[in-house]
Amino acid sequence: MTAPQTILAKLWAAHEIMQRDDGTSLLWVDRHLVHEGSHHAFAKLDSRGMKVAAPDLTFAVVDHYAPTRAGNVAADIRRMINTLGRNARAQGIRLFDLRDPGQGIVHVIGPEQGLTLPGLLINCGDSHTSTHGAFGALAFGVGATEVAHILATQTIWQKRPRVMRITVNGVLGSGVGAKDLALHWIAQLGADGARGHAIEYAGPAVEGLSMEGRLTLCNLSIEGGARLGLIAPDQVTFDYLRGRKFAPKGADWDQAIDDWSVLKTDEGAAFDREVTIDAAAIAPTVTWGTSPEDALPITGHVPDPAQLSGAKQEQARAALDYMGLNAGMPLESVAVDQVFIGSCTNGRIEDLRLAAKVLAGRKAKVPGLVSPGSAAVKKQAEAEGLAQIFTEAGLEWADSGCSMCVGMNGDRVDAGKRCASSTNRNFKGRQGRGARTHLMSPAMVAAAAVSGHLADVRPLLEGRS
């Protein structure tokens, strides 16, 4: 009898071509996703006169620089988009360009198009590649040198990470979702709490999440320092994938279900680290500082650096200074200047539904931008009447792309302005130079929009089902 194995061990074994004496494995890559940021890697390939090894397994998408609003596109942005197009065409890679109905943020369209499947190894030159692990795929972000290596060989050298299991027991409360759960554990363990580990999320609260919620949870694994997140595939996963464009069909589908059904951690398998969380103890959560670990329940207060010591005290002081906050003030009293709903963390249809539920029949007190995660999400949101709810509330409804998550396309938060945002990084300058970002769920962003300050979404959901 073989020893009980974790999902990670099973996925690793299925992709290992060989192992060097030093323990590094050469892994087979099933899907390689590239975006405009891959230009350094393509340049490296060109300089060596090499071709892409597996163009049939490589997919390119315009997202980071995608313009989300009509108007002139700056020359350097246009150049980045054109460069990706040129590289994709020269290498025979399927490109989702701006006009493609399949366009969107790479981590939204992977699942949406059925390119992301359980059991696959998926790489992309983007740290949030951890998102795809929600399907039980081995998915992790890589840098430009590694992107070039994958383009050239369709493989990657990698050491197997340690495994940590986060078990979430109980049931998440009303108004509390995957984003709150993620910010909660990152605040508990720290922004480097899971460094060197793959995280497997398990337990009833995780199983109870929709596919969208699972994607949000795995997406944020990287913000807690983990290279990848994993959730065992189940009926929710299969139901999501059936009929998707690039998903298996017919007999292949039947075999896939058989293969995917055994893709779970065996009873008794050992983890390097185990963490248990009680779902019922999690409140809607917001960040107050400049790292995702600076997160607290909305009912809390801005921390007082004087009550911290050493490096932590300096860090908190610098964060409050940058964020323009006073120690001890209630989080609910923090006034915001604007809101943003979108990104690979929370730009999916369910995220928009949740935000719209709060916004319906209400007016936003501050301006805001809503950028759906993909062209398909946009179309669906318009068909469901969600777009109308956003515009009637006074928010701007835009095209899909990374948009104000990273500001590369010009959608930025101005210096000194405070933004309630459904994105994933509250780093200094992330949304624009001097921008102040508070991370939260899309429902909480909607609550901030209609309140004009950080606000608990729960009372705003009363009576709305």
Partner: protein, 196 residues
């Protein structure tokens, strides 16, 4: 990329935790071709907002001493290009973002792990000034301001830094195995190919 075994130069301290790659190089600079040189982009906005920033006071540094979780966040290798083009050859910290650390090694930049206590002591010693520093990959030690410390580094990465290996060349030796693996994988699991 050429390898290295030992470097000597100057060290400075950046006493901050969680220095993410968005700070190391703001996104708007990432469309520049590498041939432009990424050195001026290093910590661009932070340096502009703080005229007395350590990297403004010292236009050259070889070793950077900093706090935990350095290089967290975005996988942008441009953060490493900015450090390397500025002239930095080693960063000492208690921990690094995983992707950053492997990007660093791929570009000849050493991510040297020291303990929290060692880093705090170095930050105290360095203060606002710079100090002579030597880093030796063969012994796995860094001597900064007269203090010699052993750093933690994956042996594979140590080899890679010393030899300046390029993985693409290494992997090319295994082309046959890779071709066989692909054929076997998709024969056994046809569903793993994108449906057409």
């Amino acid at each position: 990329m050429s390898g290295w075994t030992k470097i000597s130069g100057r060290a400075v301290a950046l006493p901050q935790a969680n220095v993410d790659t968005d700070q190391l190089i703001p996104a708007r600079f990432m469309s520049a071709p590498r041939s432009d040189g990424y050195g001026p982009f290093l910590l661009h906005d932070v340096r502009q907002d703080q005229p007395d920033h350590v990297l403004n006071r010292y236009s050259h540094a070889d070793v950077l001493v900093t706090r935990r979780n350095f290089g967290s966040g975005s996988s942008r290798e441009a953060a490493v290009y900015a450090l390397v083009d500025f002239g930095i050859k080693a960063v000492c910290a208690p921990s690094f973002g995983d992707i950053f650390a492997s990007n660093a090694v791929n570009n000849g930049l050493l991510p040297a792990r020291l303990t929290e206590d060692e880093i705090e002591a170095l930050i105290d010693t360095l203060g606002q000034a710079d100090a002579p520093a030597t880093v030796d990959l063969s012994t796995g030690t860094a001597t900064i301001g007269g203090q010699t410390l052993s750093f933690d580094l994956d042996p594979v990465w140590q080899q890679k830094l010393v030899n300046g290996w390029d993985d693409i060349d290494l992997t090319a030796q295994h082309n046959d195995e890779i071709t066989k693996f692909r054929a076997a994988r998709f024969a056994a699991h046809p569903w793993a190919l994108p449906a057409t």
